[in-house]
Symmetry: D2
């Protein structure tokens, strides 16, 4: 590594960070939210990161028990039951996070076919009755408004279905059928209250050629309400399967930002051009069993995306916050390549820390670069996020920061191949599939970032910060002036009573 | 009501209460234990009642993810995964309760047929390979011994399957097939360690004619290990269905005690005659949607059974501790006739209090009767459980208790049609299917027992306790000597400074 | 009791309740806030009542360790230390309550004399150096602004000293000396920031003749800043002492309201006439060992004061929230006549419930009377506070309430001589000075209000509510429409399977 | 540093560790235990260390409010009140720690003089009435037996007074007067129950010449009960005062062990020779304001003492667990040289970790040395405590450990001048006297030990462990066999889908 030239960080902001990066996070299916491990994990997430919304599949699937036809006095009748919906949403709000509602999948008794997706069997066929589907949507949204208030529910975006451009998620990937579903659904939502936000089409990258344009055309022609546009973003290649796992190549991280930018480009000139864009899922790999998710590589790879994505879209939702997930079945080992920022039992992965570091940045951006983001808090503290390029052999970054006083105190927190890396510890201890309590203690310890602190001198209202980053390191440095309160008589040299220091 | 004659309670014990009544409690399927509401409810149960073991279905069903065949290098191989088993058992032990293991149902990939039971689809067919089933059992038990220690697991009874005498729970209710399963399973358990306790046949009342005798004959002939005998007990008639509910007639409660007593009678003279008998399920109704479970009637009905069952068997396990259950699907209303001592969200039902009152009795029995059980604690406190006959219009009980000192303090706690009766409050407020937070507050308040206290004079080392019981009342009275510490100058009449009392 | 005529409660509000009643609460000396029992009690108080501010003595007394002169290099120097101040204020803010700062008493090393008040020895003499006192005040307030922010501290009223009109609390009750202290202190506060609120003179009733007028004259002449006026209110007569206790007569409760009203009357025409008035202490008796505080009499006595005081002043602060107090030494018994709404170990007294009931009233006042206060919430629910005259033999109240729908659900919570009355239970069980855990359980149970609920029919948009109040009863009734969700097939008569109801 | 030769650790134990090291810990005066910060700290201590007993001054001082004479009907009478005693002892037992009772100091109203010790004024004069003192002792012990049970209280040693050989703690250091007090007290204790353990004389090093021998002679002559012998141990020289602080020289740590050993030597041949010996206080410095307590030096200095003291005495009680102390007044800064293992607000000092590391050792000692203690757990895990000599410039230790399998996993935790050293971080950030929340976060992070892990190969059933210790480092290494569960198909090289590792 040759020593790079020092970057002069301006003392006045060049922009704002915004909070698109934490506007939303993904989750496994809705009823998993009833679990304790899930809620414990979400509590950790909210304490250290603080997402605003949470989005997952399965709100209307049979496990949630909403759609309940029955017979009475010889006639078919309908009940919509919200026993579990309320338990989940109550829990979300208690944890300080709001639903980003995704309407799907199809209740078995309302489905037009048997096709399912995932281990847990989400039915992906159109409704056998669009009228009953509309009733279901209307009853659900009306119930939520009734229980939580319109002011609250108005802040919850409502997305119609998931990845209808993929045959796995929507029978035959039939766009016309999706348009019909979208129209019926959007109108049902707006019947409850026109101020509610509805949108779509939640397409997946790869199979989405022309989808957005055709969707725009359709809603324009039919005058169908749309309040936001959504799509997903992933950069992994085809899955190479091993038992209980997958390997994939990854495109450069910049491709994720290109996918973020795509909707506004594709919708230019349409009625949807100015609408909010939500990336309702993104990650490196789309496989729930790819160990890349557990690594420091993933954190370094995503650092520029998380640091920069907010310039392109209104939200981009990391898929997902926890390994409590189950799309590919019950995990057979603690580390199994799940999407989670946390494993089961709340072991933090390196990408968790990328987000937790983001949450400690200030809102004023002083400088941005390929390997850094320098921010300032309202009280003047400076917070620097820096990262090595994923897979590179380390990296050096030299900054000149604006500073006050004689000295500054710098607190560094970092993850890399060794620090904040429970996966590495887990491998080293023998990859225990279901770790014992003592092993979990080691993993919880190993998952904590490396931490250090130092004082830097200030000269000409500048402090020089030199950062040598390890392989796949993501670092946070927080800098504030030293206010010296040590009294004049304190002398470490007298600790042992004389002049001989302890 | 005519006033009954006073019962003289002896001052010396006539027996011991034992703890068969709290040796075990039932639960919905194993993976429900991952839920937060479930664990919150179990925490309440353990704090106020303190069961020793917990038994439910589904340890080996697909939701637990244990049985995991896979392909590798062209060959079928096997993994047994305990990700969820460990999460559940860790939670149980943390809550101070131990598993009473039930081995079942059949993993889909190991099943010989498609027949399932319950909304959640437990497969009830014999294994397609008894060798692989034995491997599964052995691996599971060995894993538990490895993780929790042999001393611990030795205290967990292991029961083979559930209600094989019913066609719904075991294909064709084929006893020979059950015997084969039992033998293979029991041997697999004993291979792990011969000190582990294994038993069966967990038969259901009604269809069990001759089952126990034939089971005894079989194990004797084949020299198959059996450490305990188990069966179930219910007293309800055929279900009269309404939407999301059932009504049933109930036989007199004494029939439950007859069912408890049956195994020892039927096994007299066999090798199994002296074995422990576990009633691994009992309740009034066997339907998970019969509102009788939610009523004070149920508590009064079961009071003599819970108070007296310990004379007949080693355990009798109330089916179940919580309404988090799902055998008939996701409940459509908070009160829906579930088996639980608690509803979702921890609202206590009258039968909860029957058990909580039992937990406050002493171990020495001073007197027993059709309407009372009088006990004494090691420190001399007397605790009286009394009940009205279920459905009767109230009841009077007059006791003469042994007592010391000049006066005793009596603390009464009671449930009836109005007190400790959240179901009544819920009906009164309009039967809200998914109550709002404020309504839940009312229900939690209404679920608390009525409480009162008084002083009684002691004459000739006797205190007279007269109890007027309301319809379906169950009452606990705790009596202890008053030690008067009020100083001589305390005079309520001077509260307002003169002689005019406040 | 003759039946009173029915009161027609209007359907439109006649006023607003405001929150003067919970604007502030009193506390024992500042360093007691370091205790766990104190904080546990305050947590209960804040959960069920939610006061905005808290005021107590001793911020600057030696136990808080703020004023710390020392010698260094032969010279006297000064340190102001906030180790404990910060621990207390951090705890307050964490519990959702803000300080109402009282500046006092005098640090021993800054005092001009030895006179102290209370068991714990608060020094009540003027400063030996007004300059050092001003430094102390300035340093303290500046530290708080620095730590908690000006926006926060600006909401904390700052009161100068306590009851300087009493010789026990201010040497010789010397008003000129108080004026000097006030001036120096107010100026020191305003030096930190002119937007901070400072006031006084915190006089005690009885010895305060002409104090307010002279205070107004003084500050006017000298141009001294005053942002609010404060005084105290008590209605008890001279103390009749018994060991560890006092008895006193009580004037009618209306006298408290007269004392509340006095400052505005006395200050009419002065520059202080329009200032906020804070009653920074009030209670029935001013003795910390008068058992009246523990009774239902106290709740009934204060009910019209707490319900009506907000019409007269900006705050009136119940003295005090907890029995953790110590002005008369360490209590020798759990119930000892302390001021607390809670005893040690969080046993609720009847007056606690008066406040907790107030906290459940709506902000719109529909009707007011000598025995009731009827309010409405934004969502239409009606909440009625009713009370029997203190010491009367019971009371009947008949209301006609505006109502919607066919039926309303009424939830009643009440305290009286028997319910919500832990003192009564404690006396009955023998007045145990330091109750054992089981006795504390009984007391916690006995301290809960009586609770019941019923349905009332609605006719002509009116529901009739008849309340028979017991001796010293305070009752809360909350009324809301029944929304009936019970399905048509539910029939309690079929609970036992036939037509014979359970 | 030259590389030392490798030490061969035997595979069979050479002794047992015992638990004298955690048999007791010291605390500030009894009523401080009412504080929340104190209890929060004790909870941390008990979770990570788990002391058995806790000993501090002031049980009978006025702040606890036990001794309460009063007048009634013209006569002096006596009440003993346990309001606070019970709150403290309840809290201790809830936290899993038991009192080691020290009977003292003198209630003011029972004292024969005015002499006090400490900022908080403990009266150190003999009782004015030995009869009333005996009543007080008897009443206190009898109350404890009554509340907590004889079986419990029998496990609490009862020590008579504190450091009577020092004029500061006992008027004139009058040994005859102490002997009289001891006799009266011991007899009062034994009147409650002869099985209770009473002892003394709790002498301080330095002024204790001949005390033990004379004490032995006295009790032998008079037949006074003695169940254990106690003394204190410190190694610091005279205090060199600075404002709010002291500096002292320290004798070599071995002197502490010599002081531990002294009682048995001095008592050889007396009736007390075989009694348990309790070192009821020890530390490096006896000053509560000596910053040495906050350093890694202190941990390294005490490591051989804590590791080896159990060979000499039955307990040695670190003075004290928390900086919540106040003998020298309210601390003026977070780090102020307090005795605590924890500062206020639960910041762990290096010596805390020395104890926490001890708590993770096994009970079988495999090897001992000047710089190490190697232990084994029942399950075969090996735990190594190693330390650098205090003040030395680092140290190298090379061990050969018995091992099974192919590889072992080693988990290292360590504190030194930089790691696990919040004092260093606090100095670096400017020595903030009352740190803000964010600064406290940094301190809590900085207080955590350094942590790392590695795999070591096993050859010939031996693993080589090389430890390079930094200045003042104390290290714990825990070693266990690797059980490799990674499946054969896992290949980190395929993480990115090809052969190019991530």
């Amino acid at each position: 590594m040759t020593s790079p030239s020092r970057i002069d960080v301006p003392s006045q902001p060049v922009g704002r960070l915004g909070d698109a990066w934490r506007a939303c996070v993904g989750t496994g299916r809705f009823d998993l939210a009833l679990r304790r491990d899930y809620q414990d994990s979400l509590a950790v997430i909210q304490r250290d990161i603080g997402f605003r919304h949470i989005r997952g599949h399965g709100l209307l699937s049979d496990n949630m028990g909403v759609y309940r036809p029955y017979e009475w006095q010889g006639q078919r009748r309908m009940l919509h039951a919200f026993t579990y919906v309320d338990q989940v949403v109550d829990a979300y709000l208690d944890l300080g996070i709001r639903p980003f509602l995704e309407l799907g999948f199809m209740p078995r008794a309302l489905a037009s076919g048997d096709q399912t997706v995932f281990w847990w069997g989400g039915n992906v066929t159109p409704p056998s009755s669009h009228r009953e589907w509309a009733d279901l949507v209307r009853a659900t949204v009306a119930h939520l408004v009734d229980r939580y208030g319109l002011d609250e529910v108005r802040t919850w975006p409502i997305e119609v279905w998931n990845e209808p451009d993929l045959r796995d998620f929507w029978k035959d990937a039939d766009q016309a059928a999706y348009h019909r579903l979208y129209e019926v659904t959007a109108l049902a939502v707006k019947e409850v209250d026109t101020s509610l936000q509805v949108g779509g089409p939640a397409v997946s990258p790869g199979a989405d050629d022309g989808w957005l344009a055709r969707f725009a055309e359709f809603v324009e022609e039919r005058g169908v309400p749309v309040d936001f546009v959504s799509r997903h973003a992933y950069t992994s290649g085809p899955a190479q399967h091993v038992p209980f796992g997958s390997h994939q190549t990854l495109a450069p991280a910049g491709r994720l930002l290109e996918q973020f930018a795509a909707p506004r480009q594709e919708l230019k000139g349409t009625r949807l051009a100015e609408l909010p864009v939500h990336i309702t899922e993104f990650n490196s790999s789309y496989c729930p069993d790819n160990l890349i998710h557990d690594t420091a590589y993933n954190a370094a790879y995503l650092a520029p995306v998380v640091a920069g994505g907010g310039d392109l879209v209104d939200s981009f939702s990391y898929w997902t916050f926890s390994d409590m997930f189950e799309e590919a079945g019950v995990p057979t080992a603690l580390f199994h390549g799940g999407f989670g920022l946390l494993t089961h039992r709340q072991v933090k992965k390196p990408t968790f820390h990328l987000y937790a570091f983001m949450a400690r940045l200030g809102d004023e951006v002083l400088a941005r670069g390929d390997d850094h983001l320098v921010t300032r808090h309202p009280d003047g503290r400076i917070a620097v996020l820096a990262w090595a390029a994923a897979g590179a052999d380390g990296h050096t970054l030299r900054l000149s920061l604006p500073a006050a006083g004689d000295e500054v105190f710098a607190r560094r927190s970092h993850v890399d191949e060794e620090r904040g890396n429970a996966y590495r510890a887990w491998r080293r201890m023998g990859s225990p599939r279901s770790p014992r309590p003592r092993q979990l203690d080691v993993l919880h310890e190993a998952a904590e970032p490396g931490r250090s602190h130092l004082r830097l001198p200030v000269r000409d209202m500048r402090a020089s910060l030199d950062l040598a980053l390890e392989r796949n390191e993501v670092t946070l440095v927080e800098v504030e002036p030293v206010v010296e309160e040590a009294p004049p008589w304190w002398d470490e040299g007298r600790l042992l009573g004389g002049g001989t220091a302890g």
